[in-house]
Amino acid sequence: MRRGPAAARAQRNADLRFYALTLLGLVLFPIAIHPIGGYPGLATQILLVGIASIGFNILLGYAGLLSYGQAMFYGVGSYVALLCVSRFFPQHPNFWVAVVLAVAFVTVMALLIGMLVVRLYGIYFALLTLAFAQMFFFIVFKWRDMTQGDDGLQGITAPPLALGFATIDLTQAFPAVNLGPFGDLSDVHYWYVFAALVTFAVLVFTRILVRSQFGEVLAAIRENEERSTFVGFDPMRYKLAAFVIAGALCGLSGALRGLYETSTAPDALTVETSGNFVIFTIVGGVKTLLGPLIGTGFIMYLQNVISAKTDAWRLIEGVLFVAIVVFLPGGILGSFRRKAPRALLANAVRVTPPPGEPSASDAQSAPHELPR
């Protein structure tokens, strides 16, 4: 579709609306969660883990690759960040150094693993990523000298956040202000603000990426890989780039979560953790920007709040997952968003066949019209 200045203006307004509403949501989130049984610390955890889901969606939603091994990037990110503080630079621990080294390490890891796996399709890709994640789990579990094995790394206080002009202790709380049913402002720590800023930056990055030339080609490859190859794109390099970006965001998520919790354990690298990212993203809405974050919040909220009330929370989580996949195939966000553009495409743009010619929608186009 050709773009005119009017379309560009509409796009800019949509961008501004999206950013404003997202910021508003992030500001209200830690106190809005209070009346429904949550707490600001949970809000922080949700955002930090949500960063990995947003990244994973670039892979699953936009590149169409189902990785079942994201936990290796998440887990290794948390270990590297904490080891930077406790072991590599114990004299001069630095928050940024820990995060940057963790993300750099995971990025290289994703590049090397990606070069081996992106040639595979579907179940083979999923299984190979799973196998790699199991290897990393094993390494972390057995390399006791470095990782303390089963016990994990415990009690590693994150260094304060050095900003050049100021040094901020992220564990510090806001001053006490009674917010009635929304709890007290002093329940919110600076960590939340930091997590919200990073999450916002990741959302902006992802939105730009999806709309970029790179995102356009990635979507084209997803829609028709063979044709993309024979107009001259190299699908493998695009998939590899998506794999690395998703891996790096997963590593960032793990590093921040580790620093926030002051601990990590081999749990972070289990199949269950990998599966969580898949569930978060699908529940929230594949191929939507905020969906993975909402899915992460929804499930983590259930895990935390319902598990305090009943032992059967796993059962409830499972039933909900099945219900969403069956009844809301686009996920929470995707299902009420998707209808509009689809209907537009189907009606406004459909071509009526010229008289005397066979029907425009011949048998060949039928499979492509199924919802993806």
């Binding site: 107009v231 190299d234 186009s365």
Partner: protein
């Protein structure tokens, strides 16, 4: 250019493709001049599609070599061959069904403009004016400009096949490989595509596989006949029509087409 006009644009030497013990192509010495319109014909199972696949890089040759503008490209992968100027339209229209007709061509033009990979994660492709221009040119060539905003999956069979050709053209090729461009088309659409191919031949080298003998005899400068994976005959349409071995191949148990 004129001194090179007779030099082959695309050439193969001893080209072969095996699938296990079966030789789909063997010992093919083939060459096309710049600007030529060449048809490759043969009974079903003669190895025409395999030959096109090896030329376009869908599959790699098992033996022999391919030269394009004098350089060896035998092992060059598909996307890189497009960048060199070898484009392919598919036997079954191969397009982006959910995109608009225009966006289909834009993607092909974008591939030509940016190359096989570009890590442009912060900027959209709208800034590239040459991409829009190339897409518009390609649509004009196949006479689909009036349907530019239509969803590609909603086009008629003939329009889809012409859009597939437009995707090849939007990559600005030196040579375009058309695999059965009129298969399954109604008479009127065949005439339209016939005109299209004649128009293309004035701008670039065209290589087609086709079963429609009226079309092939009418438009080709020269014809290569494949039979059982090997070249059986080569010549002008008149020579091929008069060739006894070609008639034998077509009639002797493989009465698929008629010459």
């Amino acid at each position: 250019m004129s001194s090179l006009a007779s030099a082959p644009l695309l050439e193969t030497k001893g080209l072969g493709k095996r699938f296990g013990n079966f030789a789909a192509n063997s010992g093919i010495d083939f060459s096309v001049r710049d600007g030529e319109l060449r048809a490759v014909i043969g009974p079903n199972g003669a190895g025409k599609t395999t030959f096109f696949n090896i030329l376009s890089g869908v599959a790699l040759a098992s033996e022999g070599d391919i030269f394009f503008q004098g350089s060896r490209i035998t092992q060059v992968a598909g996307p890189r061959r497009v960048a060199l100027g070898i484009a392919k339209a598919f036997q079954t229209a191969n397009i982006y069904p959910d995109e608009s007709v225009f966006q289909n061509c834009r993607l092909a033009a974008l591939a030509r403009s940016q190359g096989s990979f570009a890590l442009e994660i912060f900027r959209g492709s709208q800034r590239l004016a040459e991409v829009d221009a190339a897409a518009e040119d390609a649509l004009e060539l196949v006479d689909l400009a009036s349907l530019a905003d239509a969803r590609a999956g909603d086009l008629s069979h003939g329009d889809k096949k012409r859009l597939d050709i437009a995707l090849a053209l939007a990559t600005k090729p030196r040579i375009v490989l058309l695999d059965e461009p009129v298969a399954g088309m109604a008479i009127e659409e065949v005439r339209k595509t016939d005109r299209l191919i004649r128009g293309l031949a004035k701008r670039m080298t065209v290589l087609i596989i086709e079963h429609d003998m009226d079309l092939v005899m009418g438009i080709s400068d020269s014809i290569t006949v494949l039979h059982q994976g090997k070249i059986l005959a080569e010549g002008t349409p008149a020579e091929i029509r008069a060739n006894a071995r070609v008639q034998e191949a077509y009639l002797g148990g493989h009465a698929e087409g008629h010459v």
